[in-house]
Amino acid sequence: MTEPLVIARAVHFASTATFAGLFLFLFLVGEPAFRASRCTPGILRKRFLAVGWISLELALASGAAWFLLLAFDLAGRSWDALVSRAIPRTLLTETQFGNDALVRLGLAALLSICLIRFRPDRGWRSRWDGFLASLLAACLIASLAWAGHGSAGSGAPGELQLAADALHLLGAAGWVGGLPPLLLLLAFARRTNDASALAMAADATWRFSQFGLISVCALLATGIINAYFLVGSVAGLVGTDYGRLLLAKVALFAVMVLFAAANRFGQLPRLFPPGRPRGAVLGRIERNGLVELGLGLAVLVIVGALGTMPPATHAQAWWPFPLRLSTDALREPGSWVELAGALAAVAVGVLAVLAAIFSTRWRWPLLAAAAVLLVWGTPHVSLITAEAFPTSFFVSPTGYSTGSIAVGRALFAGNCVSCHGASGRGDGPVAKDLRPPPADLTAEHIYGHSDGDLFWWITNGIGEAMPPFGAVLDATARWNLIDFLHANADARRLSEAADATGVALPLPEFSVECRDGPSLSTDQLRGNVVHLVFAGPASTTRLRQLASAKTNGEATIVVRPEASEPTAFCETRDPDVIAAFALYRGADAIDGTEFLVDASGWLRSMWFPGRRPDWEKPEILAGQIAAIRHTPGRPRPAAGAHLHAH
């Protein structure tokens, strides 16, 4: 099913770009060149008209095929359902894709009237005709943006993405779509071979190259914006099918630009001043243009395929290099100076090598200096690299929820404690016989590795030191373990924190239910300080005290066991919440423990009966809340590791 859709889309993009590009070419290049050289090539205009009608017919046929393939897919690939459920009508009238198709159909109808009004003997009836037609053509090609990935965003970034996509299409139509009429014009001039036709062709080539330069710049700028939205990272570019196909497209584009540059800077100056034989130069321009057109069509086939694939931002990126950039080492004082020195040494060294190639006199001294600089500088550049694995840029699908942490906690107890110890400090029963010793999974370094690095080690083991678990635990279980590792390392920091202003730890996600209201996720609680109270049989007094106390603007949430009395607060009885937060408490008996979460959703401090200062005193609790409200916490390193992919 995919291949017909790819072909239909590719033909539709190519024919629409040719159709729209023809009008832009006529208005900006063809007719001005005809006027300037007082050359009225009726045969050429007839050929332009033929290009217009053929590309319009192809665009209509391929557009209809694209529409029907989509409708067929939506009907569950059954012709009966397609007809009985009136899928095409709904698709046309009720979806953005269908409405966009209707608009494009209307624009195509108006443009076909323009084609009828275009006369082989005198071109447009007026310049206004030409202007209006090229405006309609620009709208036709730009409106294809609403039929693809570019239309998927929302809000201001979504509009930027859509505008970039529309401009990208316009640039493509201006360049690739302008090539067929330009090539026809050059062929006509060379065959006619009289001075006025050759002068007209030279003029048209000059005009097209101005307009081509603008197209290339627009394509580059908007292409970078589109890639930011749809690929998002270098890992996405080199590690996913979508990204690699995009790289192939960029490579073809680069070769197209080389041929265009050969025409612009190599051939074009030879057309002027006049008096030189122009035929041969125009022939070379035509040949280069033909190569550009062929490459442009290949690019459009890739565009046809890219639109049917999930963008790189939705796929796990398989990192193909043994290294990645890492700025971790730059946190060390003085490392910036070392790096700047190393980069300067390498740069000067490379320049010295280049200079040595050109200077025969200074060659050997320059090479010696370059060798010294490169040998000294090169190893220091590794300050900004770190070891990487194929899964280094994988993104956890679990969403750091209490459910995931609770599952991970059970898996850790079942698979990992014999070496890493019950609390993950590398002190399990068999640890003392192991060389190298098992890692302390609560130490600071755990934050220095991406989720994807940890995923690789759990899956494949670490040399002789740690066995692989890829065959024992499924992928989700391995991600659950990683969520547990982070929560467990955080637990050590939370219990060691002296006061509320020190740490800021990611809050595991869970939901609470409020009286007469919808249930809320922790994401939705942001904006307010949250006071999380784990209630037990002995908590009645404390809950009554909290219910009657004046609040300090915080939202109180009660987590209580399954078989207890409901309270007036928002609450949850999810056992996973209790299991996950028991980690922070360091004990399964979590009754009476309380936590404070700041308005940005960071877990900031913990209290339990007997701990100082005593939160049961209202003024102490108010002071704690005021403190976290006024002092933003310092998020722990690698807080971005859990950034949601969406």
Partner: protein, 120 residues
């Protein structure tokens, strides 16, 4: 080799994690995916990563016996990436949600998950 790789990767510094778009996937649900809730929810909310086409997007909820317990899923007109599913009064038990949506960029995606409703 390390140096060449380091220099080749310098452009990576220019890229930060970008918001993902295109193809609607379930971002989160309420009740949460795989969760257990104590009181029966009256409504299921599904947040997607992208705007949906209401005409071709839907969800159904079935109990453990396979009977439908929903009154149909509707895309929220004010927020087209949110689908609301009205539920009949649910008894304690396990429920399975199946969603199938068309994103505005014409890609169909589907998925399912379950949640539990606990005792009174």
């Amino acid at each position: 080799m390390r140096t060449i790789a380091a220099i080749a990767l310098l452009p990576a510094l220019l890229f930060a994690a970008a918001p993902a778009r295109a193809h609607a996937f379930l971002d989160r649900a309420e009740p949460r995916v795989g969760s257990s809730v104590s009181s029966p929810p009256r409504q299921l909310s599904l947040w997607f990563t992208q705007n949906l086409e209401p005409a071709f997007s839907g969800a159904e909820v079935r109990d453990s016996a396979g009977a439908r317990v929903d009154q149909g899923g509707r895309v929220d007109p004010a927020n087209r990436s949110l689908m609301r599913v009205s539920l009949r009064p649910l008894r304690p038990g396990s429920y399975k949600v199946h969603w199938r949506v068309l994103s505005v960029d014409t890609h169909t995606t589907e998925g399912s998950f379950s949640f539990q409703v606990g005792g009174p």
